[in-house]
Symmetry: C2
Subunit: 236 residues, 2 copies
DNA sequence: CGGTAGCGAGTTGTTCAACAATCCGACAAG
DNA sequence: CTTGTCGGATTGTTGAACAACTCGCTACCG
C-alpha cells in the first residue's frame, strides 16, 4: 500500500525529494540491523554493562532471532567497537582501559578542534543546533536526569563536529561518542560528571557566535584536556 | 601443539613478544574475515570494479565458503564503505560520486593537518616511516609501477596521520585511503595521477624534519586541495 | 601437596537446506 | 507507450547439524 500508483492529481514538483526520504526509511528494515540498533541502545543506556558476555544462544532466544542473524548484528557492533569478539570464546560488551580513553580524547580533539578551525561562515542552523543541545542539557540537569545530560552533552560535541560539514566526520564522531559511553559506565559512580561542563559549552558556543574561532578551538581543547583527566582519575 | 606447557628450558626472556605476534595471526583466523580481506584486496587492486555486483551464490561458490559466512564478510566491507548493500537487491562494489570525493578530502584534511599540528617532538621512527614511504614511491615510479606508487603514496599519508599517535585515527585513515582507491578506479584512465605528488611529499617531509610544523600543515593543505580538484576534474 | 594430563559439557565456527519476501525482466492487455 | 501480471532468480531468515574449540573438573603422578 502507499504505492506510487496514485498519479498526477496535481501537477506537483517536489516528488523525488519525498521519495528519497521514504526510501531510506523503508529500505533499512533488516532484522540484523534492528537487532544491532537495540543492542547498541542497551549498551549506550548502560543496561548492558561492559564486560558482559552475550551468548549467541540465549541472546538469540531472548531477541527472537536466529543465531545467524544475531551474528550479523554482532559483527556490526564489533566493528563499531561496542563489542569485542574473542575467537571461539564469544562476544563481550567492550571494557575500555585507560589507553582507550586517552586515545578517544585524542581523536575527539583532532576532529572537534579541526572542525572549528575548518569552519568559516558558520551557517545559522549549525549554531542553532549547538544552542539546542546546550539547552537540552540545561533542562535535563534542572530535572536531575543525568543520563540525559550526558546524551545532550554528546549532541553538543556532535554539533561542534558538524561544523566541518563532513558526513564522514559526523559518523566517526557519533561512533566515538558511543564508545565514550562505555567509559562512563565502566567508571559508573559519577552521575554528576557532565554537569560542570554545561557552562563551558555555553562559553564555547558564545565564542563561536562571535566568530572567534581560534578562541573557541582553544577553549574546547582545554575542555577536552580536563575532561579526559577527570575521567582517567575516576578510572583508578 | 605449541602449548605453553613446555617449561623453563632456558630462562628465556623474549617470549611474550613472540606470543603476541603469533596470537594475532592465529586467533584472527575467522573465515569471514579472511574472505573480507581477500575481497578488500581485490577491490583495492581494482580487480573488482566499482559498480560490480557480488551475488551471494556465485561469490560463495567461487570462494568456497557458505552463504552465511560470505554474508558476514559482506557486512564487514559494507561497514568499511567498500561495498554498498541494497536491501533485497544485493551488494555492489561502491561507486563514489563527486560529493564522496569532496568529503573524503575534507576528512583527510581534518585528520592529516590536525595530526601535524598536534605533533610535537616527532620521534625519529615516525619521520623514518614517512621517508620510507616516499622512497618506496620513488622506486616504484622509477619502474613505472603506478599502482604501487599509489600504494606508497597512501602509506605516506598514513604515516602523516600516525604523527597524532592515535590508533583510532590511524584506523580511520586506513579506511579513508581504501575508500579513495575506489575513486581512482572509478576515474581509471589516469595512471600517472600520483607521480607529481612524490616531490611534494619530499617537500613536506623536509619541513617536518626541520620542525616547521605550521609550514608543513599548510603545504599539506594545499596539496590536498589541488589533488582533490584534479580528481574531481577527472570525474567529468 | 602441586602440577599436569585428559575428559566432558557447553559454546562457538561453519555449512547446508529450506522457505518467505522481494526484485527483475518478459509478456500480454489496454 | 504505459500498465498489470506472471515466473524465475536472488536475497532474508530460520533451524538443524557437525566440527573445532574453551574451560572447569577430576584423577593421576611425582
Amino acid at each position: 500500500m502507499a504505492s506510487p500508483s496514485s498519479p498526477d492529481q496535481a501537477g506537483a514538483d517536489p516528488w523525488s525529494d519525498l521519495l528519497a526520504d521514504n526510501r531510506s526509511v523503508l529500505d533499512r528494515t533488516s532484522t540484523a540491523e534492528r537487532v544491532a540498533d537495540a543492542l547498541r541502545q542497551w549498551i549506550i543506556d548502560g543496561r548492558l554493562r561492559p564486560g558482559t558476555r552475550l551468548s549467541e544462544h540465549s541472546a538469540g532466544k531472548a531477541l527472537g532471532v536466529s543465531r545467524n542473524t544475531l551474528r550479523e548484528a554482532f559483527r556490526l557492533l564489533v566493528h563499531e567497537r561496542l563489542l569485542v569478539h574473542e575467537f571461539h570464546r564469544g562476544v563481550f560488551v567492550r571494557v575500555l582501559d585507560a589507553d582507550d580513553v586517552t586515545d578517544l580524547y585524542r581523536t575527539r580533539r583532532l576532529l572537534e578542534t579541526g572542525a572549528i578551525r575548518a569552519a568559516s561562515d558558520i551557517p545559522q542552523e549549525r549554531l542553532a543546533a549547538i544552542s539546542s543541545a546546550i539547552a537540552a542539557a540545561e533542562e535535563a540537569a534542572a530535572e536531575e536526569r543525568w543520563l540525559d545530560v550526558g546524551t545532550a552533552n554528546m549532541r553538543f560535541h556532535q554539533a561542534i563536529t558538524a561544523l566541518a560539514g563532513s558526513p564522514r566526520a559526523d559518523e566517526i564522531m557519533q561512533q566515538l561518542t558511543a564508545e565514550l559511553r562505555l567509559a562512563f559506565h565502566a567508571t559508573s559512580a559519577l552521575r554528576r560528571f557532565h554537569e560542570p561542563y554545561i557552562e563551558l559549552n555555553r562559553h564555547i558556543a558564545r565564542l563561536l557566535t562571535d566568530g572567534d574561532l581560534d578562541a573557541a578551538a582553544h577553549a574546547l581543547d582545554e575542555y577536552l584536556t580536563t575532561a579526559q583527566r577527570q575521567l582517567l582519575d575516576a578510572f583508578t
